[in-house]
């Protein structure tokens, strides 16, 4: 079974974008936090997590998301999330993460978030 994950970063204006594809679990923590720190170092003041359509997230992956949100809040960096499937959007709402990140439903919302 494929456990691979692909993480890519880019900067769009003042927004750091992290593209996520594959399986989000405990194994991605270091790569994801490193990506975030690099984007912060490049002066970005907002963070956008773009999930590919085939992303899956388990409870350990949720913990990684929480760590990331925790770090971004310390830096006063708003976090936007785009591309979550209905199932994972429901899970973000169930656990309350949607109170701490902005769930972006379409590309127009992404444009508004990134300014």
């Amino acid at each position: 079974m494929d456990n691979s994950v692909h993480i890519a970063t880019e900067v769009s204006g003042s927004t750091g974008v992290v593209r996520l594809e594959g399986r989000i679990d405990a194994g991605v923590e270091e790569a994801l936090l490193t990506a975030y720190r690099e984007l912060a170092h490049r002066g970005t003041t907002r963070l956008l997590l773009r999930f590919a359509s085939k992303c899956s997230i388990n409870s350990a992956g949720i913990a990684v998301m929480i760590t990331m949100v925790s770090q971004s809040r310390k830096n006063n960096t708003p976090v936007g999330v785009f591309g979550l499937s209905d199932h994972y959007r429901k899970i973000f709402e169930m656990i309350g993460l949607s109170d701490y990140v902005e769930i972006l439903l379409d590309e127009d919302a992404v444009k508004r978030f990134t300014g």
Binding site: M1, S59, A60, A63, V69, S70, M94, I95, G96, Y100
Partner: protein
């Protein structure tokens, strides 16, 4: 119940699954995939199939994490049955009992760094399944999840 299992591979029949898999990290995904296929064959909606997938994966992960190396119980056993539009999935293992929290994990405390960020698996299981029974006897653990087929909601489009 008739034993239908075939170690590692398992067998599927119209009435259920009874399979045993090794309690090693990663095996939970194959178990969840089997449960998902079974739920699909029972007529569950795509949304409920995803719920089954997540709940089973988390239950199996939990079983793997709590399995004792010297347990006399062989591997992790997953038993699925479907009767009268209700799917019951029982994850059985040998291992240390674990605490089942009564409350939802405190996300705020985790975000603020006052608690470790982990600890969502049992909450996800309890929230996604219609009913969960935890049976913990010395050396044997069971997490039995029940899912009833729900009618698919029709969404209306607002102008």
């Amino acid at each position: 119940m008739a034993r239908l299992f075939d170690r590692r591979v398992g067998m599927m029949n119209p009435r259920g699954i009874d399979m045993i898999f090794d309690g090693v990290p990663g095996a939970e995904r194959e178990a969840a995939r089997r449960a998902m296929l079974f739920a699909a064959s029972c007529g569950f909606s795509e949304a409920q199939i995803e719920d089954v997938n997540t709940a089973v994966e988390e239950a199996c992960r939990n079983a793997i994490e709590h399995t004792l190396p010297d347990s006399t119980v062989r591997g992790i056993r997953m038993v699925c049955s479907f009767v009268e539009r209700v799917l019951v999935i029982d994850i059985q293992s040998g291992g240390n009992p674990f605490v089942v929290p009564e409350r939802k994990p405190n996300l705020r405390a985790k975000i603020e760094g006052r608690e470790p960020p982990r600890g969502w698996g049992l909450y996800l299981i309890r929230t996604l399944a219609d009913r969960v029974e935890f049976d913990q006897k010395p050396g044997t653990l069971s997490v039995k999840m029940t899912f009833a087929i729900k009618p698919v909601r029709k969404t209306s489009v607002r102008s």
